[in-house]
């Protein structure tokens, strides 16, 4: 055990240093084989003891070390999952043969993100979770994003098969703006659409080296946005991971045909990396996912006011005003009593009295007939990723990287509505130079919404294109005439409503007809700004950042790193998403940070202090500090304490969105220019209560200045290895949000008189009938508090079996009177039993993972409601075919095919069963 730190230190050096032979030299070659099955072991670190020289084995297990040292030398051969080995080399004439013994050990990983420098995971000053390529390889999950769901404290919101949003410490949502995702250092939040696109665009599965998850506040190191956590996904360096790899997963889903018929799942990926010389290496990767997507199939009836609402009783047959959660077009609703009957009464005055008596004088809200999700949303999900990188060593320690990730596809996203992201294209391109002591990086995110459209609005417009709602011959007029005709003939209200809908829907395009498809395609192709459903978003992000490690100079006092960045958003949606119809909108941000750390009392205590200052052109500058302390209570047992602040500027949408989402509701940003544009103060607006749907505040809304949100988190944790076989990690945290950002609804009464809104709400008349509703960002004046804990245990059984379990809890406190959208279960737990290799030649692997989460109230703009408790069982068995580099895997996600949903209106996720054929996957 005591050797570990030393080996690890060497290992770290090898991770970040490679050398180039420049002098008169000795060349040592060799080959590394797995001792249990004689398979070649690629990507193994081979270093010369006592120096920083080293290399990695290629896909055949071969290595070549060139050194100026004289023989004999000692080689250190190490890789995660094997026992580190030292070999004395006395002669370079024959290749060194290394029998590498597989071993499983706990707590040996090295993480980088917790302090921006490599350190043992056991010594991390803040909570951190790590997923290695081996974890992904041995996971049952069909997509590496799904592996995150099994970490403690993680929730994943599934908008669709390829659109998953992980969250930690609350505030789960499709598109979580409180959690940063960095892929190879690039923020992969789509700058205009405001959701992280990792599942759609990021790395291909075969190129993922590791994923590090920092739950909790992390702005001090990673900039604005990391309120509840930061996920860092790092790709495989082509110098280390070489050769051709590919994987073909073929599966089936929708096996019980409950929501749609049985369909295939295809996931093919390939990676090719080549170390052309000691200076130059490149890699290229592709991944294709094609399937019939999970379907949003919540047919429950929804009563909405703007973006507020609740689930109510009623279906299409029994509620004339039915508005199904996952049916679209039926959001178009009016009170025919107050909107249509007066027109009929004007031309048929003898009916006026009769009309007055109908429904006891109460409103008669009627909605148009909608279409189901699979009719309005592209039912096929497709995702194609292409990525590549050129790596060039400028010197032994300095590496230049030119890299690009590009992805396109069709998927479904839930925001304030369901959005069909069709042929979405996002590219991330970076140039980076890194050195152990400094780093420079410039990158851009280029977003193109392609043919993406708002499914709800588009379907409503399809209804209008077929038969306009208004007018003397419009749908509602026809409905009302037929209704009255039936009532005047003695029909009951129910029968008259049924007859009226049948009459008004005569000629309604069948969802499978060419007529419907033609109409739909026409409407979805027209930009939102011109009355259609199409986004034209081409928002881009540009970022430059640099970091320097001053430790070589300052190490006697403290280890110090400093860094700075400049970020520029360029909003460009041609008026379809942002208020940018007259031109692009630029938003500039810059930030700088510094961290000092020092060990005290013989490394028993490690302290670090960090601070970061950020400024956005639209907001005041902000300083966020972080202080951490790690106390070594015993070898491999550490207690950590941290105080961290994090903050975020309002997202680009929270600043500049200007989107009509129907129902007389406009989403707007917090920028002051909206106030004059919509005359929000000259024609006053009034806040609708988020908690009491029938209440409006009769004092005009003041539109206070929009402010950045901040959170202060206190955390204590313990991570330790008990013996060799038990790894325990535990944390507890408490966070306080200041100026918490939420959205609220304000109404601008058509009459200018707020009392008309009061009366309408009291009479169950939709607020949108008596005024225009705006959803505006707001900051709370009170503090919002969150707290929770997590505990995980990994226990190593003989022969490489590992049983793991975790439980975690997140809670919200003091969030009354506004919609906090916490949307997170109080408790969740995961259990797994796994083995990466057992049996003859250690060729068989398996993993069984069970997850349960508590019921919770989901609070989103698209829908609010209770999400029932749910569980899933994932499992896989794998087999490595001897002498072929081929791995076979049989996997199941949601093995028991227990459909679940983790956000109101999102897709129903069922069982996915696949077989995978993998070649040279490491």
């Amino acid at each position: 055990m005591k050797k570990h730190p030393r080996y690890l230190a060497l290992l770290l050096i090898v991770f970040t240093f490679t050398i180039t032979a420049t002098a008169q030299t000795v060349t040592v070659t060799g080959n590394v084989k797995n001792s249990s099955n004689k398979d070649a072991v690629p990507a193994v670190s081979v270093t010369i003891k006592g120096s920083s020289s080293g290399t990695f084995t290629d896909e055949k297990g071969d290595f070549k070390v060139v050194t100026a040292q004289k023989l004999p030398i000692t080689l250190i051969i190490s890789s995660i999952g094997f026992e580190t080995k030292e070999m004395l080399v006395t002669s370079a004439s024959s290749p060194v043969q290394v029998d590498f013994v597989p071993a499983s050990s706990l707590g040996t990983e090295v993480v980088v993100s917790a302090s921006r420098v490599p350190q043992r995971i056991l010594e991390s000053p803040v909570s951190i979770e790590r997923i290695s390529a081996a974890n992904i390889r041995n996971s049952p999950a069909a997509s590496y994003y799904d592996v995150l769901a099994n970490l403690k404290g993680v929730d994943v919101v599934t908008s669709s098969l390829t659109f998953k949003t992980p969250s930690t410490r609350g505030f789960s949502a499709s598109g979580n703006t409180r959690l940063n995702q960095l892929v190879d250092g690039m923020d992969n939040q789509a700058p205009g659409l405001n959701f992280s696109v990792g599942g759609v665009v990021g790395l291909t599965e075969l190129d993922v080296d590791n994923i590090e998850l920092l739950p909790g506040a992390s702005s001090a190191l990673y900039g604005p946005g990391g309120m509840t956590g930061t996920i860092l996904i790092n790709s495989k360096n082509p110098f280390k991971y070489q050769g051709l790899s590919f994987q073909i997963k073929e599966g089936i889903m929708n096996t019980d045909s409950r929501f749609r018929s049985l369909s295939p799942y295809h996931n093919w990926s390939v990676r090719w990396a080549e170390k052309v010389s000691d200076r130059f290496a490149f890699k290229i990767g592709m991944e294709l996912v094609a399937a019939k997507d999970w379907l949003g199939y919540d047919k429950r009836n929804y009563s909405r006011t703007g973006t507020n609402g609740k689930i109510i009783d009623g279906d299409r047959a029994t509620d004339p005003n039915y508005d199904g959660i996952n049916t679209y077009g039926d959001e178009t609703t009016i009170d025919i009593r107050s909107n249509v009957f007066p027109g009929i009464a004007a031309s048929a005055p003898f009916l006026k009295g009769f009309l007055d008596t109908l429904n006891g004088g109460r409103p008669m809200n009627v909605s148009r007939t909608g279409y189901n999700e699979n009719e309005a949303v592209n039912p096929n999900t497709l995702n194609y990723k292409l990525s590549g990188a050129l790596h060039y060593k400028l010197s032994a320690k300095t590496e230049a990287i030119l890299a690009g990730h590009w992805g396109t596809g069709s998927t479904v996203y839930t925001g304030s509505e369901r959005y069909s992201l069709r042929n979405l294209k996002i590219g991330q391109y970076k140039f980076e130079i890194n050195n152990p002591n400094w780093m420079l990086r410039a990158y851009t995110t280029q977003e193109d919404a392609g043919e993406s459209y708002n499914a709800t609005v588009t379907t409503r417009l399809v209804n209008e294109a077929w038969k306009p709602s208004g007018g003397a011959t419009g749908w509602f007029s026809q409905y009302s005439q037929a209704y009255l005709g039936a009532r005047l003939n003695g029909a009951t209200d129910f029968n008259a409503q049924t007859a009226a809908r049948a009459a008004a829907d005569v000629g309604r395009p069948s969802p499978t007809s060419d007529q419907f498809r033609t109409l739909f395609d026409r409407v979805r192709s027209v930009p939102i700004s011109k009355g259609g459903g199409l986004f034209l978003d081409k928002t881009n992000l540009y970022m430059v950042e640099g970091q320097a490690n001053l430790s070589p100079v300052t190490k006697n006092v403290a280890d110090i790193i400093i860094g700075a960045n400049y970020k520029r958003y360029l909003l460009n949606s041609e008026g379809t998403l942002f208020a940018d119809s007259t031109g692009k909108i630029g938003i500039n941000e810059f930030g700088a940070y510094m961290q000092a750390s020092r060990s005290l009392f013989n490394d028993v205590i490690k302290l670090s202090l960090s601070g970061r200052y950020d400024k956005n052109q639209n907001f005041k500058g902000r300083f966020t500090p972080r202080a951490t302390m790690v106390v070594k209570v015993a070898d491999n047992n550490n207690i950590r304490f941290s105080y961290q602040q994090a903050y975020r500027f309002p997202s680009t949408q929270q600043q500049w969105i200007n989107l009509n989402i129907g129902s007389n509701t406009q989403l707007i940003g917090g920028n002051k220019s909206f106030i004059s544009y919509y005359n929000l103060k000259t024609t006053p607006t009034y806040e609708l209560s988020a908690t009491s749907p029938t209440t409006v505040n009769t004092t005009a809304y003041g539109f206070p200045d929009s402010k950045p949100e901040s959170v202060t988190t206190y955390e204590m944790g313990y991570k330790g290895l008990v013996g060799k076989n038990l790894l325990i990690d535990a944390y507890g945290y408490y966070g306080e949000y200041k100026d918490f950002i939420y959205r609220t609804l304000v109404i601008q009464p058509t009459s200018g008189n707020v009392n008309d809104v009061v009366t309408a709400l009291a009479n169950n008349v939709p607020a949108s009938n008596v005024g225009r509703i705006f959803s505006v960002p707001a900051n709370t004046t009170s503090k919002v508090k969150t707290y929770g804990f997590g505990l995980s245990i990994d226990y190593r059984l003989p022969l490489g079996f590992i049983v793991s379990g975790n439980v975690s809890s997140d809670n919200l406190k003091d969030a009354g009177g506004f919609r906090a959208s916490f949307s997170t279960p109080k408790y969740r737990t995961n259990f797994s039993l796994a083995n990466n290799g057992f049996g003859k030649g250690k060729r068989i692997g398996f993993n069984v993972t069970w997850r349960w989460q508590d019921s919770f109230y989901y609070d989103g703009d698209f829908g609010n409601g209770d999400i029932p408790a749910m569980h899933t069982l994932d499992a896989q068995v794998s087999y490595k075919v001897p002498n072929t580099k081929v791995g076979l895997k049989l996997g199941a996600n949601n093995l028991l095919n227990q459909y679940y949903v983790n956000a109101i209106g999102n897709s129903m996720v069922g069982g996915l069963y696949y077989v995978a054929f993998a070649y040279n996957v490491f």
Partner: protein
């Protein structure tokens, strides 16, 4: 072996967890239908009527009317909802006795009445009466309007299908205290429930109106002055916008207090005399001249009086006699209360007229209406046969003994 045991134990633990927790995920995706009341079992209105011996004569009228066999089906359809106002046999006998001019004595056997219905009441008349007494919704007396103004309830009688498929004559159920009416006809027994509706028994027969208010005003020999006043008030106005057109519009719903010719003559005489006296004509001569000028309705078309009886003045007085809703005398208040007239559209603050009625049981025995400038209330001539509660297709008419003066 140890390993195998380990695996077995782990497997068993996992299996136990499955059994504990892998009950189905409770996925809520299906909407909860709202409970729709089914059709109550039991007899339909048609069946109930046919089975009630004391309603046999009205049932005969219903059969005669063809309503039972008309399409679409009405009171025979258990899936629909209706309210029927039904006169029992005693009421029917009085009705037929009157209709036959006494030729069918009240004491005749039921078969005689029944035979009379079949032989002497035309199908169209029967259909009119029956249809007018069927309201296409279930109206228990508990839902009858209890305050002024009335709400009009369409019947299933469309007097002019060619004009509009939605056209219907309307009736006016109302309730004051325990007493209920349809139009001005008291209910004798209410709220008999059938599977597809409700039967209210009436103490008389609510007959369908056949003519418009204007039709009545323009042909009644004792309303010639009011007719001439309306026409004078309309002079210079486009035809479609005239008061006459309004009084003839089947879509209107009005109450008109029509002063008798003598009342109009007296008022005009006084008005003209005052004008003459103001011009210096001695009172006696002025009265005589005024009496001569006001002797016929032609007074309104006398060019000599054009400046005195301007269309605006005359129309103002005429519309002061009209309420914008339909009020049968039984709907009038027992203590004097003010109601807006059509004059309100020109003078929004005008208080309207003050109305009061005196009841004996469900019957109004006296009623008055008073203009703001009148010294005494005008008496409504209570005689439902010819002068009060004259129901027209577009309103009700009451004859009064004074002209109502708005100022």
């Amino acid at each position: 072996m140890n390993i195998i045991k380990h695996i077995q134990h782990s497997g068993l633990t996992l299996l136990a967890l499955f059994i504990l927790f892998t009950s189905c995920n409770k996925l809520n995706t299906d909407p909860t239908p709202i409970a729709i009341p089914g059709n109550p079992s039991g007899s339909t209105l048609a069946q109930t009527l046919a089975a009630t011996a004391s309603d046999s004569l009205y049932n005969r009228l219903v059969i005669r009317s063809g309503v039972l066999t008309a399409t679409p089906a009405t009171i025979t359809d258990a899936g629909q909802r209706y309210t029927m106002f039904v006169p029992d046999n005693n009421v029917m006998k009085a009705f037929i006795n009157a209709l036959s001019g006494g030729a069918v004595p009240i004491g005749s056997p039921d078969a005689v009445f029944s035979g009379f219905i079949t032989a002497n009441i035309p199908v169209a008349s029967a259909a009119g009466i029956v249809s007018y007494n069927i309201v296409p919704q279930a109206l228990p007396t508990s839902s009858f309007p209890t305050s002024f103004p009335n709400l009009q309830y369409p019947t299933i009688l469309n007097p002019a299908p060619s004009l509009s498929a939605l056209l219907r004559l309307t009736t006016f159920p109302s309730k004051r205290g325990a007493i209920t009416w349809v139009n001005n006809v008291p209910l004798a027994a209410a709220d008999a429930i059938a599977s597809n509706g409700i039967i209210h028994h009436t103490a008389g027969i609510a007959l369908p109106p056949t003519a418009s208010l204007w039709s009545r005003i323009s042909t009644d020999p004792d309303m010639t002055y009011f007719k001439a006043a309306v026409q004078r008030g309309d002079s210079g106005t486009a035809a479609a916008s005239t008061l006459q057109a309004g009084l003839d519009n089947i879509g209107a719903n009005l109450t008109v207090f029509v002063p008798s010719d003598s009342a109009m003559r007296a008022a005009l005489t006084g008005l003209i005399a005052q004008g003459l006296i103001a011009q210096g004509v001695p009172a006696g001569i002025a009265l005589a001249q005024a009496g001569a000028l006001a002797a016929t309705p032609a007074v309104f078309s006398n060019p000599l009086l054009y400046t005195a009886l301007t269309p605006t003045l005359v129309k103002g007085i005429a519309v002061y006699h009209i309420l914008g809703t339909r009020a049968f005398t039984v709907n009038l208040p027992t203590t004097a209360a003010s109601f807006k007239t059509l004059l309100t559209s020109a003078v929004p603050t005008h208080p309207g007229v003050s109305i009061q009625a005196t009841f004996t049981g469900p019957v109004v025995t006296a009623a008055t209406v008073k203009g703001v400038a009148n010294a005494t209330p005008s008496i409504i001539f209570i005689n439902s046969q010819s002068s009060s509660d004259q129901n027209a297709t577009n309103g009700v008419l009451h004859k009064i003994d004074q002209v109502l003066l708005p100022q």
